[in-house]
């Protein structure tokens, strides 16, 4: 099986370690990965803002670039949902590429049947359900299964795990006061767990949460699920 890496633009630019961690884990599991270098953005910012023609152009481009891959794996539930759930609406049809795009945790658990990747991360963590992973892709247990099998980890649930962090792409700059209030609610819930780290499938949520944590000088760190799974 040849697996293509779909590295969303903001991960490419802001959080490359997340992509690198995903490669590390996949190679540890002997998965043959390749990276189509001409990839850029899936078009979600345009789509969510109402620019469907612009998004459609990028959807068609994605399908071309990733044609022929047995599976396409991405360390983002949000961008995966864009491709698998929304491209068919934009393009009027599902394609081989849209149907075979998976979020990383989903790919490990549902496609590879792996729940223990041999990672070690001795820390107290809490898991944030990214909205698109949870409600568009219906991934609730998969990331937790993976986390529970990490050596030394202590997974504590927060009371508002399923509550949105307030990022929402352009929403976070169009309505910053609402976005910030949601961030505050989220962080309050995280703090109550006493966790050292908040883990999520989606780095966009973590960027939002981290933006609050750092501004308030709080000691909690954010880390992507891929980075936790890559740690040994």
């Amino acid at each position: 099986m040849r697996v293509a890496l779909f590295i969303p633009c903001f991960i490419d630019q802001l959080f490359p370690n997340v992509g690198i961690a995903m490669v590390t884990v996949l190679r540890r599991l002997n998965v043959d990965v390749y990276y189509p270098e001409e990839q850029t953005c899936c078009g979600q910012p345009a789509f969510n803002t109402g620019y469907w023609d612009e998004a459609r152009t990028l959807a068609a481009r994605y399908c071309e670039i990733f044609t022929g891959a047995d599976a396409i794996v991405s360390p983002s539930g949000s961008c995966t949902a864009m491709v698998r759930n929304f491209y068919p609406e934009l393009l009027g049809k599902a394609t081989q590429a849209t149907a075979h795009t998976y979020e990383f945790a989903e790919f490990l658990v549902k496609k590879l049947g792996v729940t223990d990747v041999g990672a070690k991360f001795p820390a107290r963590v809490t898991y944030h359900d990214a909205c698109h992973a949870l409600r568009e892709l219906r991934l609730k247990d998969e990331p937790r299964q993976l986390l529970r099998n990490v050596k030394g980890i202590e997974l504590v649930e927060m009371d508002q795990a399923e509550t949105c962090c307030g990022f929402g792409g352009t929403f976070s700059v169009k309505f910053p006061m609402i976005s910030y209030a949601m961030d505050e609610v989220k962080v309050t819930s995280i703090q109550k767990t006493g966790a050292q780290y908040v883990v999520s499938t989606d780095s966009s949520c973590l960027m939002q949460i981290d933006g609050y944590l750092r501004r308030q000088n709080l000691p909690i760190k954010t880390i992507s699920l891929a980075e936790v799974l890559a740690a040994t």
């Binding site: 490419d12 990276y35 850029t40 990028l58 792409g169 981290d210």
Partner: protein
């Protein structure tokens, strides 16, 4: 002049910074959540109940013309009257005419968002007709001069102490911290109003096509008094409130109470089948139904979003919405708040004026998951956004930015140049001021020197 968008931003900023407001709402909704979780257990299969309800509503809405006419025939056969109101103005004018015809000086009202939608109270008061809200929450709203904060829970934002203070200030009653005493104060006053009112106005939770009945659910008995004591009963019914068959209530009543308050069924469930009959000792002498369109047929004509007319106004999407929980019900400036309001308001009212509401969402999808009739709420917000752009309600600057962005994303070379420039600007700290809406309250990450693409070129390929 303040635009609707500016007003929304202003009110949202004020409420999101109000931590007392946040605590009150969080507490109220936590109580609701616990009740609803218990209530759902009464359904053998909640997901299946939702699907079944959605299927019934789908059938109704897609054949609404037939069901409305069947409903009308049956209301007339029962001795009632039906008026088709295309606009809010038509509905108000007809009610005022009825009031004049019957020499109405006082109206008692039970809770109805449809009457809020057509601003009925103002019209009645302007015509010199004393109008009294009889639902406790609505009564409190009325004496405070505020619109309902929530479509089911009109004073969700008030604590017992707030209400006591309102009564003290507006009614001159002695201070008390007892909910029972507060209720008795309202009850004593409202009883007199029921006995002396000439007309009772209600909404309808459901309009039943095959019997011509109007179904009303409530917990205080005030709706029952409102439609049974006065001489004339007027029910204002949004045309989407139809259900085909009497037996559909067996599903829709518990579905509504289960999602609205977590109750198995509300304390009072009434069916109104017409005016007082020959053999009956009480009840109104006349029964009027006003079928209200007021923009609903525009939504009906939109096959993509027609299912928004499935709404039974249970309020579950408001309670699930993290935006609602932070900005509160008043900031929206609409009759219907929260996710359903943001979906339907651009259809029911001016599409451009209200085009900001679908954007005031993180698209988290919590609303869609709780909707008892499976309205695809958060995807409709996306459709509304697309419609707004197609109608050119977007700013020319934003349009230009997305065009330039597309040009960049279509070309790996342009992407590479643009990302290197952005990377440099962020690392030098010169881009941050441009991100002020973000950076005013949150730190923005500083990008590393090397992108994933750089990494792959250097280390990834051969590893």
């Amino acid at each position: 002049m303040t635009t609707t968008l500016e007003q929304f931003k202003h009110d949202a900023a004020e409420k999101t910074a109000d931590l007392r407001h946040r605590a009150v709402i969080q507490k109220a909704i936590a109580t609701y959540d616990a009740a609803v979780a218990r209530g759902r257990l009464r359904f053998a299969d909640w997901q299946n109940a939702r699907s079944h309800a959605a299927a019934i509503k789908w059938e109704t809405i897609n054949h609404l013309d037939r069901y409305l006419e069947q409903f009308e025939r049956n209301v007339l056969a029962n001795g009632g009257h039906v008026f088709w109101a295309e606009t809010a103005e038509d509905a108000r004018a007809h009610i005022l005419q009825l009031a004049r015809q019957h020499g109405v000086e006082k109206v008692v009202k039970s809770k109805s968002m449809t009457t809020e939608e057509i601003h009925l109270n103002d019209a009645l008061e302007a015509a010199g007709i004393h109008t009294v809200e009889t639902d406790l929450g609505e009564y409190i709203c009325q004496i405070r001069g505020e619109p309902p904060y929530h479509i089911v829970t009109p004073v969700m934002h008030l604590t017992k102490a707030d209400i006591a203070r309102t009564f003290q200030e507006k009614l001159g009653t002695p201070p008390t911290d007892s909910a029972e005493e507060l209720t008795m104060i309202a009850r004593a006053r409202l009883r007199q109003e029921f006995l002396t009112a000439d007309m009772g106005i209600t909404g309808a939770n459901f309009a039943i096509a095959d019997t011509g009945m109007v179904a009303i659910t409530e917990n205080e008995g005030n709706a029952r008094l409102s439609f049974s004591l006065p001489r004339v009963h007027v029910a204002i019914v949004g045309i989407e409130k139809l259900i085909p068959r009497f037996e559909d209530l067996a599903l829709f009543w518990p579905l509504l109470s289960g999602s609205g308050t977590g109750q198995a069924i509300t304390a009072y469930s009434s069916l109104i089948g017409g005016p007082r009959q020959e053999r009956e000792a009480d009840g109104p002498r006349e029964f009027h139904v006003i079928l209200l369109d007021n923009g609903r047929t525009r939504l009906l004509a939109d096959s993509e979003q027609r299912d928004a007319l499935h709404c039974i106004r249970c309020g579950a999407c408001l309670n699930a919405c993290p935006i609602y929980k932070n900005v509160g019900g008043h900031a929206y400036g609409t009759t219907y708040q929260g996710p359903i309001g943001s979906v339907i308001t651009p259809h029911l009212r001016d599409a451009e004026e209200w085009s900001h509401l679908p954007y005031a969402s993180s698209l988290c999808g919590a609303c869609t998951d709780v909707c008892p009739v499976r309205i695809d709420l958060h995807h409709h917000l996306l459709h509304n956004r697309r419609n707004a752009v197609q109608s050119k309600f977007d700013s020319p600057l934003q349009r230009l930015l997305f065009r330039a962005w597309l040009a960049t994303m279509q070309s790996p070379a342009a992407y590479s140049v643009a990302s290197r420039l952005a990377n440099l600007a962020l690392r030098l700290g010169v881009a941050q001021p441009l991100l002020k809406p973000w950076t005013a309250t949150r730190d923005f990450p500083t990008p590393p020197k090397q992108s994933f693409k750089d990494y792959w070129r250097q280390h990834g390929r051969g590893a």
